[in-house]
Symmetry: C2
Subunit: 332 residues, 2 copies
DNA sequence: TAGGTGTTTGCAACCAGTTGCAGAGGCGAA
DNA sequence: TTCGCCTCTGCAACTGGTTGCAAACACCTA
């Protein structure tokens, strides 16, 4: 059923090499031969088998796209943008869902079996060592939304979470909040740790600020709602800087259920600026992470690494900014 | 860098065939040879190249997963479940984002270049002819969330949207609503057409019911909010059956912005029961579509078709059910 | 010991392409 | 006409596996 080079060669009255050459950029073919081959190929509907050619060229144009965050709404944008950015460059995403377990070995085995040209790890919760395992296996890898590390051994594209923490701290101080809480994601998530570091840096040491810390069990609506409920029932702060937008929405839901008004009784600030944050019935004040830029840059970087595997690892961090909406009281 | 069969054969002191056979289920190898090969393979970290073997076996274990709905939150669950269901069966999803244009030809070309074993079209908005193009190209295809068609030419797994429309109509009548509106997705979407058919069937012809119809421009929050605002400003109904959950949330937001209370002033009913519908600050009364079952079944079906390409097409439809939450007044 | 049976093994051809190399052909200059 | 050069083409070997076939071998029976 599938039509091969040989069929085309036969119909065009040329050798198989000639067919291969007309489909290879920069190969030497006369206009006449090219015409005959193209005509035959069109008539038969021929397309070279990418897998067969990968055997000799060593390139499959497959990119492993790995994530463990499938349930966070921010990933709607992430998947949409990644698949399109890859498609635009003639690359195909081979998706790996890491929900069960975070051991890279089976993923590595799989990706090598399919000879992927490169790997993108898209996750803000996986440890840096995870992506490193791919590099050690000889696969070009970029960690998107990963943690910046001064002694970086792999390419990281993302944001400076410590700086985001500072930004949040200053935004809250600037609005006159003094009883301030950090409601993080899981304590072991590097993003949570880093944001807390920056946040504390700005707030602790100020005698006029009452600063408290808690952690939700996951970056999820339910976890945010549960932890926020606990906090509000025991000793409520004036404002909560939450681990991310979905946690924030859980927190908003908790406040609402307890009959508190936002932002009058309690303030909430998120991080990500996912699409839902601007929905008018949520209207979350948050910090925008430039997801589109991070993804474009990640794909560019993985392409660069494929071309130059020896390239030294680098971190590319993008600035974030506060997005004003309705869950904090206005700046003074 | 990558280790091949030949390397293993050499180290184990056997032929390449022996290596191939130890990795092929059901092939004849003595325990002694198998042991030697496995030992050598482990030592070298060998895994057979799936792409090379696909040349002779004709199987890649790649499944094309095509969608045009990347931005609808229901797809968070859909992608998570699809990727896991495929992984569980040793299959790999090759993702195609169809956001730009709905012409199947380039997708077909691509999937044939990668010799995918089968294709899953996951979309409730693509026309039936779309999936059919894949079948015509000789690719086993299943249309998930597709439209049931009595003269079906391709496998469809989904729900009976006409029945869902009826179910919604009866639920609303049962609660005593009499000024009832249908707020569909795009008029050309088959899901919208079918749901409207069932809904009208129940409501039209009843002299005590005032029934109106409108359509949003897309299955999205913004489209739902805009259309609902239009409706509420001109001639509000008592209750709106919306095209899907995300439209419903847009509609809820519109009602809220206009100062209407839900469900006291206006009712909203959705369809899908995506995860967000049960978030307490949304608490959407909706019709549950058994997404998990649909996906498991789709994957099973594509596997079956790969094994038996001559199998006649069938439709597998799953029953839906109304999920009681807070956006309709209670049943009498 | 010869013959029959069944298992295991390697050879070689094959899958669908790519590519180095050598030779064919065309063309202009000497 | 001959030579040199350049472009184009096909052969054949190669990519990393699989598999039909026949030979080698072990084992059992008569």
């Amino acid at each position: 059923m599938p039509v091969t080079m040989k069929d085309v060669a036969e119909r065009a009255g040329v050798s198989a090499s000639a067919v291969s050459r007309t489909f290879t950029e920069g190969a030497s073919v006369s206009p006449e031969t090219r015409r005959k081959v193209e005509q035959a190929a069109d008539a038969l509907g021929f397309r070279p088998n990418a897998l067969a050619s990968s055997l000799t060229t060593g390139r499959t144009k497959l990119i492993g796209l790995i994530s463990n965050n499938f349930r966070n709404p921010v990933f709607l944008e992430v998947f949409d943008l990644f698949t399109r950015a890859l498609q635009d460059r003639g690359l195909r995403p081979l998706l790996i869902n890491l929900t069960d377990g975070d051991d890279p070995t089976s993923a590595i085995r799989l990706l090598r079996q399919y000879s992927v040209d490169g790997v993108i790890v898209a996750s803000s919760t996986l440890p840096a060592g995870f992506a490193k395992a791919f590099r050690d296996a000889g696969l070009p890898v970029v960690h998107s939304f990963g943690r910046f590390d001064a002694a970086t051994e792999i390419h990281v594209v993302g944001i400076d979470n410590v700086e985001c923490g500072r930004m949040a701290g200053e935004a809250l101080l600037g609005r006159g909040y003094r009883r301030i809480a950090f409601l993080g994601g899981p304590e072991e998530a590097t993003t949570t740790q880093d944001r807390l570091t920056g946040f504390s840096e700005v707030l602790s040491g100020r005698s006029d600020v009452d600063f408290s810390i808690s952690f939700a069990s996951a970056y999820s609506f339910d976890a945010g709602r549960i932890e926020m409920t606990n906090q509000l029932m025991v000793d409520p702060a004036e404002v909560y800087f939450c681990g991310d937008d979905v946690l924030s929405i859980g927190a908003l839901s908790a406040a609402q259920s307890l009959g508190l008004r936002v932002p009058d009784d309690v303030g909430v600030m998120g991080l990500n600026d996912m699409e839902m944050a601007r929905w008018q019935n949520i209207s979350l004040t948050t910090i925008r992470q430039p997801v589109g830029q991070i993804i474009e840059c990640s794909v560019d970087l993985v392409v660069t690494m494929i071309e130059d595997p020896e390239r030294l690892p680098e971190a590319r961090l993008f600035p974030c900014q506060v997005v004003e909406r309705g869950t904090l009281r206005p700046a003074r």
